[in-house]
């Protein structure tokens, strides 16, 4: 609902002109970025990275860190760095619904990008996520909301009880759709206990229109309210730009901080999520 209102504002055609420019931006010291995810199916992964100059276009990994996963305060995994991707750490652990998880990351002296330090995440609760009942393709005629063509859409039943938050990711032809515009997440404020795909709640349309033969993989994951808020500000700061109604640039603060000092925050977010998957191919 909130997004629809927002769309109302952004959809206004203003007599404006955009042009990409070259800017000299200040160089600042690197900051640590810690992103991670523990799920009930895919083993835990953590990325330890360093921020770069904005114009750099990518962020380097931080090697040689010690990365530990805790479940309800008890250490359950020690992650190993990838041989091929510096700063990418992988474990073997999968979580369960109801578990509380956090990570502990230590960077040692001698790292070229950042000074030594020890960071932890806040605890994340791994929440329930209902199964995807169906994921299918269909042909839709042109209407004002969409062009004519083939779309994929999913049905699932949102469980009773307010306070569920979800994130969706989709792979089209095995390629993860991962631009800021692709960030998709929602809460059950207006759909609590209802079926997506049964009026009044529409089916979740993933992409489209796309040609026959396009394959899709869909991931529906539960997230926490903190995760939802993080994605919301990430989306606001990356998508809601370029109009005269822009919100002010803001720092995107996640749930990572220096061990022992919650106010000394680092970049990034660690989430716990239960995943559901479905696949579909567009057919005539």
């Amino acid at each position: 609902m909130k997004k629809l209102i927002l769309f109302g504002l952004l959809g206004l055609g203003l007599i404006s002109c955009e042009q990409v420019i070259d800017l000299d931006l200040p160089e600042t010291p690197s900051q640590i970025i810690i992103n991670g995810r523990v799920t009930d199916t895919v083993p835990v992964q953590v990325q330890v990275l360093a921020s770069a100059d904005y114009n750099n276009g990518s962020v380097p990994g931080i090697s040689g860190a010690k990365v530990l996963l805790y479940e309800n305060g008890i250490r359950v995994d020690s992650l190993l760095e990838s041989d091929t991707l510096p700063g990418y750490y992988y474990g073997t652990f999968t979580g369960f619904v109801g578990g509380n998880y956090h990570i502990d990351v230590e960077v040692f002296d001698g790292n070229p990008l950042i000074a030594a330090g020890n960071w932890v995440s806040k605890r994340e609760l791994l929440k329930r996520c209902p199964p995807i009942d169906s994921f299918y393709s269909e042909f839709r005629p042109e209407d004002i909301l969409q062009d004519e063509g083939y779309y994929v859409a999913a049905h699932f039943k949102e469980p009773q009880g307010r306070g569920d938050y979800y994130r969706i990711r989709a792979w089209r032809n095995d390629s993860l759709q991962n631009m800021p515009q692709d960030l998709t997440f929602f809460e059950d404020e207006f759909s609590d206990g209802l079926n997506f795909g049964t009026p009044p709640v529409p089916a979740l349309t993933i992409d489209g229109p796309r040609p026959v033969g396009t394959t899709y993989k869909l991931e529906l994951g539960s997230i926490t309210e903190a995760g939802f808020d993080y994605l919301a500000i990430l989306q606001q700061q990356t998508v809601q730009v370029g109009s005269i109604f822009d919100p002010p640039p803001a720092s995107i603060i996640g749930n990572i901080h220096v061990k022992g000092d919650q106010s000394d925050v680092a970049l990034g977010f660690f989430s716990a999520t239960k995943l559901q998957f479905a696949e579909a191919v567009i057919v005539e």
């Binding site: 609902m1 909130k2 209102i5 927002l6 109302g8 504002l9 055609g13 203003l14 007599i15 404006s16 002109c17 955009e18 042009q19 990409v20 420019i21 070259d22 800017l23 931006l25 200040p26 970025i33 992103n35 990275l49 921020s51 904005y54 114009n55 276009g57 990518s58 962020v59 004002i144 909301l145 993860l176 991962n178 631009m179 800021p180 515009q181 960030l183 207006f190 009026p199 709640v201 529409p202 808020d229 919301a232 500000i233 606001q236 700061q237 990356t238 730009v241 370029g242 005269i244 109604f245 822009d246 919100p247 002010p248 640039p249 803001a250 720092s251 995107i252 603060i253 990034g268 977010f269």
Partner: protein, 783 residues
């Protein structure tokens, strides 16, 4: 407290009595051609040199020695008049002045009393008449009150097309915008490109940037007092125009000659008429227009009593095909009753209703239809008494009461939900005395007392007082307030608002003025976007939002040159704000019941120097205005999440240190009038990223230095020419054409950062609103 005691003494004791026998001359000054009363016309006794100025209803009262004398009357845009009086008794003297035509062969070189700007206590006041606004080259030829105001010193906007305006470093919601005493909550059409005031229906526009008289209150930074025409009492008349954007028509005339008259004005834009020509089906089916209706009736009950009823109704409508509709608008009505109780007592009682609504919805036949309505209503009662006590004292006192009902949002349709309404009452009482202490020294001393109470029914969250932050995690309970039960009340000593202005006249063409003002604001626009949007809501002060306060001191030097033809003013001001509403990083303000969770409280400071050189009479008129100013904000919370910019001062979005405007107009001959504007401003602050970060493959900018950079300078030249056709018997017509942004300067509105849609590479993008010359042509007529 001593200060207040002294003030009280001035008001209640210090009114000296004069032994000399005096008589009172009082009455109304009007435009002879149409009966419109004149605001700010000066009445001057040549013998005793005492003077008076007409109030917003055209009334004046002048005490003169009881002997024969000459009364000299002058008003800007009118021929001066002199009337001889015998001076034997009190007298009601209603005066009609003849307009001085703009044509060159009729230029009246002013005589003595064109120096009101030197002798009055008004400091930090900008005034425009409808004809001045109409002569300035304008975007798409729309004579626009607010755009014209921004050409004056100390008044800016965030950028082209931004909604509202900023006065001396104040936010857009800190302007009290009054249309015939009714507050207007959204002064913009088309999201900010045009203002809601139809210049044809407007008689007088006055903006107080400082030295705000005590009768006005409720906003921190300025008062924009717009008065609608009353309607021609002499004959039926009309005027109108056809422009590229809109057309308008105003009709006025007597209902009962000299007693009752009316004015109605309508304006509608028709951009949408051209939209079906677009090849894009979405644009073809788009609706986008605004309209305004102004109406006013006035009735002169007798020589002492007059009643006015006026209304404004304006709306913007945007519809994207069958997808959704979006509309917003103001409705205001005012009924005023003027009563001249005696030669020296003038009473005005008014009752005002103002209503701002917006609505977003989808057609009902859509599967997932919804409709959101938001509304703010207020009822106001004002009573004001002006007492022209004697030649040295003019007292003004009164009361205001405003009742607000805020309905921030109600959703109907497939899902039905509603944000709780909020109720508040704001009360104020004020007194002021304009005291001519000596011939050269005048003091306007005023005091206003105001407060607000926020009352139920309402359910309010309770937060952990030790947490230092209001959010979901710190809620410890809820309190229910019954209907009429006080949720929060602010009636305390902080509600005292001293208003002082002083004039020391060095010579008839030179004066120094100073002022000090405290203002309080009890309702707050909740908006964290660069430009406010029509869906931003207002919230009253309550349990979590404190009233905001501003203090301002200003010092000015005024000098007239060349027989008062050229007026120069230099003003310096310093202003400090407290309890300003600010927003947490990433605040989500849409449809939020407990808005306090998204808010922070901060301070502000603004200071500047304003220079104005103007020539308002003769064939060649115009002004040069230059402002050197800063406006900054600071939010120092205890926690990082309750700070902005690490608790350090940062420039406000509209902080533009240098602002230069040149406005020129030449009446070449009876047929041709040429106008030009040039504007130069420092680029406004924007935030550049310090670094690039990433979350699961999504790149995002890291910001830490709010508004630490600036966009490039802004400059623009506009030209216009108006050809007036030879006058037919009852019919006068003219054609205006011109170009906005003549040399097509690509002025940036903002610089923003995003990932390239194709490559994923982070990039900096400049957004411009009017990057090309925009021509216009407008046809105007009157009869």
């Amino acid at each position: 407290m001593n200060q207040f005691l002294r003030l009280a003494m001035i008001f209640f004791i210090g009114t000296p009595l004069f032994a000399q026998e005096t008589i009172t001359i009082s009455g109304t000054i009007s435009d002879k051609t149409n009966g419109e009363t004149l605001i700010g016309a000066a009445v001057y006794d040549i013998n005793s040199q005492s003077s008076s100025v007409t109030n917003p209803y055209g009334f004046y009262s002048l005490k003169v020695p009881a002997r024969p004398t000459k009364i000299y009357i002058s008003a800007f845009g009118f021929r001066n008049d002199t009337i001889e009086i015998s001076g034997s008794r009190d007298r009601q003297l209603d005066i009609n002045l003849v307009p001085s035509s703009q044509t060159i062969d009729e230029v009246v070189i002013s005589e003595t009393r064109e120096n009101d700007n030197i002798t009055n206590t008004e400091i930090s006041v900008a005034r425009l008449t409808a004809s001045e606004i109409q002569r300035v080259p304008q975007l798409l030829g729309e004579a626009d009150v607010i755009r014209t105001l921004t050409l004056l010193p100390g008044i800016t906007t965030v950028g082209e097309g931004a909604s509202g305006f900023n006065v001396r470093g104040g936010n857009t919601d800190q302007n009290l915008i009054l249309l015939d005493e009714a507050p207007v909550f959204n002064s913009s059409h088309l999201f900010g490109f045009f203002s809601v005031f139809n210049a044809d229906a407007i008689k007088d526009v006055k903006l107080f940037k400082g030295g705000i008289p005590s009768q006005y209150g409720g906003r921190l930074s300025s008062v924009l007092d717009v008065r609608q025409k009353e309607g021609n009492t002499q004959e039926f008349a009309g005027n109108g125009g056809l422009g590229l954007l809109s057309s308008r028509l105003t009709l006025e005339g007597p209902i009962i000659k000299d007693e009752m008259s009316f004015m109605v004005a309508g304006r509608r834009s028709y951009l949408d008429i051209f939209l079906p020509l677009s090849p894009d089906p979405t644009i073809q089916n788009t609706t986008l227009y605004f309209y305004d209706l102004n109406a006013k009736v006035n009735y002169k009950i007798n020589n002492r009593q007059r009643i006015y009823a006026s209304a404004y109704f304006g709306r913007d409508v945007l519809g994207l095909s069958e997808l959704f509709n979006f509309g917003w608008g103001n409705v205001t009505t005012t009924v005023r009753w003027n009563n001249i109780l005696s030669d020296e007592l003038f009473l005005n009682v008014s009752t005002v209703y103002s209503d701002y609504t917006y609505n977003i919805g989808t057609p009902e036949d859509q599967a997932a239809n919804f409709n959101l309505d938001s509304r703010i209503r207020n009822n106001i009662l004002n009573a004001n008494l002006t007492w022209f006590a004697n030649t040295r004292h003019e007292l003004n006192f009164g009361v205001n009461g405003t009742n607000y009902i805020f309905d921030p949002g109600k959703i109907t349709g497939v899902v039905e939900t509603e944000l709780a309404s909020e109720y508040a009452t704001e009360l104020a009482a004020y007194v002021s005395d304009e005291w001519s202490i000596t011939e050269n020294l005048t003091l306007l001393a005023g005091l206003r007392y105001s407060g607000i109470m926020n009352y139920g029914p309402r359910t309010v969250n309770e937060y952990d007082p030790n947490a230092g932050i209001l959010d979901d995690t710190t809620v410890i309970g809820q309190t229910e307030y019954g209907s009429g039960e006080i949720v929060a009340s602010y009636f305390d000593l902080n509600g005292l608002e001293p208003r002082l202005a002083m004039n020391y006249t060095l010579s008839p063409s030179q004066s120094i003025k100073a002022s000090y003002n405290r203002t309080r604001q009890y309702i707050h626009l909740i908006s964290n976007t660069t430009s406010a949007t029509p869906v931003d809501i207002w919230r009253p002060s309550g349990k979590f939002i404190q009233p905001a306060t501003a203090d301002q001191v200003a010092l000015g030097y005024f000098q007239n040159l060349f027989d008062n033809q050229v007026k120069i003013s230099v003003e310096a001001y310093y202003k400090w704000f407290s309890n300003l509403v600010d927003y947490k990083d990433g605040a989500d303000l849409i449809f939020e019941e407990n808005i306090e969770k998204e808010l922070l409280t901060g301070d502000g400071r603004a200071y500047g120097l304003e220079l104005m050189i103007e020539k308002k009479s003769g064939w060649f008129t115009g002004w040069i205005s230059y402002t050197l100013a800063r406006s900054e904000r600071r939010v120092q919370g205890e926690l990082r999440a309750t700070q902005i910019n690490g608790g350090e001062w940062y420039p406000a979005n509209f902080d533009k240190p240098h602002d230069l405007t040149i406005v020129l107009n030449a009446q070449i001959n009876d047929d041709w009038n040429i106008g030009a504007n040039f504007a130069y401003q420092t680029g406004r602050p924007v935030t550049y990223p310090d670094a690039l970060s990433e979350f699961q493959g999504v790149y995002y900018p890291v910001y830490s230095n709010r508004n630490g950079a600036r966009i490039p300078h802004y400059h623009r030249l506009d030209l216009s020419a108006t050809y007036t056709f030879a006058k037919a018997r009852y019919w006068e017509q003219s054609l205006s054409f011109g170009v906005y942004n003549l040399y097509g300067r690509n002025n940036p509105y903002s610089i923003f950062f995003r990932q390239d849609m194709d490559t994923g590479q982070p990039q900096a993008v400049q957004l411009s609103i009017f990057a090309a010359p925009i021509p216009f042509v407008t046809y105007n007529f009157n009869f």
